[in-house]
Symmetry: C2
């Protein structure tokens, strides 16, 4: 891996320094290998790793290009990494969401358009009609929170929160909710967030989002069989 | 890439399902290729990509192992990705830090040990003595914030905040601070965070951390030549 690592570092350096701009086409493999003083096979492997990290885009029969380097592409790997975390670590992920989501939702209060508010209202109707259908509830849940984070206009934030709220994690929480007959209460929590956003009340939005992420955390604990958090100790589970 | 992607997905799936546990040794390449029904070269490339993502550890002359899958390893790629973000996107990163750092620092209030508080005090002394030495200031700044986030005991949070506060980003902010003769004021902001932590006052800690990240953001804007944020419009820069 040593030579590949060196080739990766050199290619990253050329991109970070601006020598290779977003969208730029890389020189042919042989030329690139000569330029950075490494073997063709080292360069080839480095390109594969950087393609997987969405830094490079290999177009068959055309060439290899630097991607747009947008946060959405570069941070795509976060969700993939989170999917591989062990159960005990998922509670750490939940704690990060507890810290970040309420503030992010509060920021959304000031930036959300009326069109986006209407979209949330539609998704809430769909949620209510989905009853015990876990697949649909997960889909609407994902859509609901994505509309909110996307409304901040911060693609880095959206990518991070999407990465921290993977489908597997959502599925585990919803499985607990449905088995515990708590789906309706959770849909009500989504409605509380929507109503606070509609009222353009940042403090209330923050509170509603914090209550909601706390419920998700409590159910995740139930599903993975962890001890309740300090603030959950007195709650009958 | 298609075949490699398929091999990556299959290996990830075996790890996510628990078929391959953290620390497990992978079967030899030929056997693995037969097992997942793909070519040896596809498997070899997949292993390289997963090694780069710190999911696998290739030990020469020994074998290929699944890593510990700890958040510290799996989220290492975040910092590498952030280093490649374009200037305009760095302001998005700063906004995420503005959302996350004050809350994370607030959580640290309740969990920080007296040993860690003493460490912060020592780092503050070092900062004061470093005067205009940018390299040292960046080093102490990194250490100061790392002690705080690590004190939360949440490795996922620590990895995310470390990834969002790359050395390059810090270096750019400190360059602005030193050129603008604002290093002393920034050291005072670190002291304000420390004193609030010492007083175990979460609301004050939150406020001090928010003021501090706002200063960093303002200087990053100056350095990359961006327009001031809304809340900075009336400030004489």
């Amino acid at each position: 891996m040593a030579l590949t690592d060196e080739a990766i570092a050199k290619l990253r350096g050329m991109i970070a320094s601006g020598e290779l701009q977003p969208g730029a086409r890389l020189p042919p493999e042989q030329q690139l290998a000569t330029q950075i003083g490494l073997s063709r096979s080292g360069v080839r492997e480095a390109v594969k790793v950087l393609e997987s990290a969405r830094v490079l885009d290999v177009r068959r029969g055309d060439g290899t290009y630097v991607t747009s380097l947008s946060p959405g592409l570069l941070l795509e790997g976060l969700g993939v990494a989170v999917e591989l975390l062990r159960d005990d670590t998922l509670l750490e992920v939940m704690e990060v969401r507890r810290m970040l989501e309420p503030v992010a939702t509060g920021v959304a209060t000031l930036r959300m358009t009326t069109v986006q508010l209407a979209e949330l209202s539609r998704i809430l109707d769909d949620m209510g009609a989905a009853a015990g259908d876990a697949e649909k509830l997960i889909e609407y849940d994902t859509a609901f929170h994505h509309v909110i984070t996307a409304s901040t206009g911060n693609e880095t934030l959206t990518s991070l929160l999407d990465g921290l709220s993977t489908r597997t994690l959502r599925a585990r929480v919803w499985r607990g909710l449905i088995e515990g007959n708590a789906a309706d209460r959770t849909i009500d929590e989504h409605r509380a967030i929507y109503l606070a956003l509609l009222a353009r009340d940042p403090a209330l939005v923050h509170a509603a989002a914090l209550v909601h992420v706390n419920t998700s955390e409590a159910w995740l604990r139930t599903v993975i069989g962890a001890a309740p958090a300090l603030n959950e100790r007195d709650r009958p589970l």
